[in-house]
Symmetry: C2
Amino acid sequence: MTKSVDTLLIPGPIILSGAVQKALDVPSLGHTSPEFVSIFQRVLKNTRAVFKSAAASKSQPFVLAGSGTLGWDIFASNFILSKAPNKNVLVVSTGTFSDRFADCLRSYGAQVDVVRPLKIGESVPLELITEKLSQNSYGAVTVTHVDTSTAVLSDLKAISQAIKQTSPETFFVVDAVCSIGCEEFEFDEWGVDFALTASQKAIGAPAGLSISLCSSRFMDYALNDSKNGHVHGYFSSLRRWTPIMENYEAGKGAYFATPPVQLINSLDVALKEILEEGLHKRWDLHREMSDWFKDSLVNGLQLTSVSRYPSNMSAHGLTAVYVADPPDVIAFLKSHGVVIAGGIHKDIGPKYIRIGHMGVTACNKNLPYMKNCFDLIKLALQRKK
Amino acid sequence: MTKSVDTLLIPGPIILSGAVQKALDVPSLGHTSPEFVSIFQRVLKNTRAVFKSAAASKSQPFVLAGSGTLGWDIFASNFILSKAPNKNVLVVSTGTFSDRFADCLRSYGAQVDVVRPLKIGESVPLELITEKLSQNSYGAVTVTHVDTSTAVLSDLKAISQAIKQTSPETFFVVDAVCSIGCEEFEFDEWGVDFALTASQKAIGAPAGLSISLCSSRFMDYALNDSKNGHVHGYFSSLRRWTPIMENYEAGKGAYFATPPVQLINSLDVALKEILEEGLHKRWDLHREMSDWFKDSLVNGLQLTSVSRYPSNMSAHGLTAVYVADPPDVIAFLKSHGVVIAGGIHKDIGPKYIRIGHMGVTACNKNLPYMKNCFDLIKLALQRKK
């Protein structure tokens, strides 16, 4: 492969920083060597930090070879145990990825109720969630913090309060794939029980890692064989992975399946970059870029955002806007070396485009990518008038 | 991380060729971009080639983010479908990894019978396998081609003949993790129905990819929802992945979960290197290196091989030998910058060492790694006399 000259502005995989990309180009390390153990130890501690969870909370991070999707399986298989006391899950759906999480849960035997917004692009009314929680007993509520199909941002803090007030025993589960690193996220403060993300989004690492964090409450549940039974599955079993992650974090090698050593070395650099800059600053930078970009499209070009804008209901790591001819706009940008994505929502897929602005694209003010992208979209639309 | 100067001679991850390592250091590509589609298309075709399967056989390759272990889940979950007609599996066990495959199968609800050799380090007598196949009806037989815990090589050709003669309807399943790329392997000729491997062994790519190949017979079974029911699981579901892999191989992008683009680019280079040199030549080079190394240890240093040697029952990608004080030998080599592995078999773990010789280490005759390794082992033992 020759090095791609295209500017990749899809909502993941994203452009890597030079140091993160370079960290892939390292010899294989023994997976239980002291050198690798020290890297993985730091990755686990820093994973907890980017989720905003304190070590004292006894939350447990898991970093596994896999895609973001695998995180759904990890939750589903460790929640629907063979003697699971409550298989009912409330899925708060704001788009395609929320619905796929529901599909995954069903494939493990969960009984799923789905609540949706009144209109695509809105978030689910809080009263609807509260109502459902009052009417039924749910073992878990899942929320997709940012649904990448619609760019809807859910108000986790408010949903958390609703759950804690109405049904405190229910596990609070968050798909944070397009959120960790670019959206305000407070694992401990919001009482999240399980959150999952992927390496190739706002964390800014290469694709290939499933990253999740469990509360001590969820760990107690998932590891209680005698009460809740066994996991239907093997690679996704937290019982099998927990001693491995505990050992690595304690500075000792352990083995269940071979970790992808180069990817983890690269993730290490990505996490350090985020924490060195500061999480809050990263959130601010993503918000600023997102506000400018959405404002330019919505107010500058009179485009309609798929998610509600201006508001706090829109993602800060990607933008979804309706355009008259998405394939034409996408092809025009591609011909100018800029790659953006099409729509994927089943009802409105062919009507909109999606542009990612995560990681260096949003945080490095010297990079002209988003300005160029806006200019090209403007040009693409003008030449059609 | 500073670049490791240690010479990594464990049975995976292995030392990468310069070009394979360099292929990691590339910008993220869009996972449905024409550039990536073309890479993934070639990877899928070449995967079939290194398993020695013709496109005309309609075998179906799957290359997923994950560890080798995930391959066990892929088979188990797609074999133990909700209406699986036969959940009985015969596991031909030659060590720890065979037994773990059995554990994985059980975790999905399989009824598992295990046959073992008379003595650790031997292969399972063929008559024992035939006897079991005559007495019971098995839906599948699993064989670990090379069990990395013992370096035992199983005679797949003979086992295949036994299955085809005694129980032709039984699926023939091979864990080829430490085999594809370094051992003679004939997917089509031996009538294999499912074979799995991992990127970081003799294929010579970075860790992080689960690579498997299904026969058309197994695909017909696994995709027959109306007859065999659904998969308990999501990320491992072949029903969900099949259209994705078919599309990529046909030169079209598709999406179920984000592929690890850098790893797949690196795998592409690794597969091309193998096929350009020629599979048969690679097998020969591994055999030559293995024969020399084992002979030097067994006849030169009077060490006892864990697997039977000389014979055709020993792996050609790794060597397992008993030594009086494994931690001392391992530490001595490490102090000289060479990393080898300890034993992991539950009964003999603390009594032996394991040395990997796969990929460039075996195939590039200019590299002095194995000669140095032998000299160091010799030195380690002599200084204790």
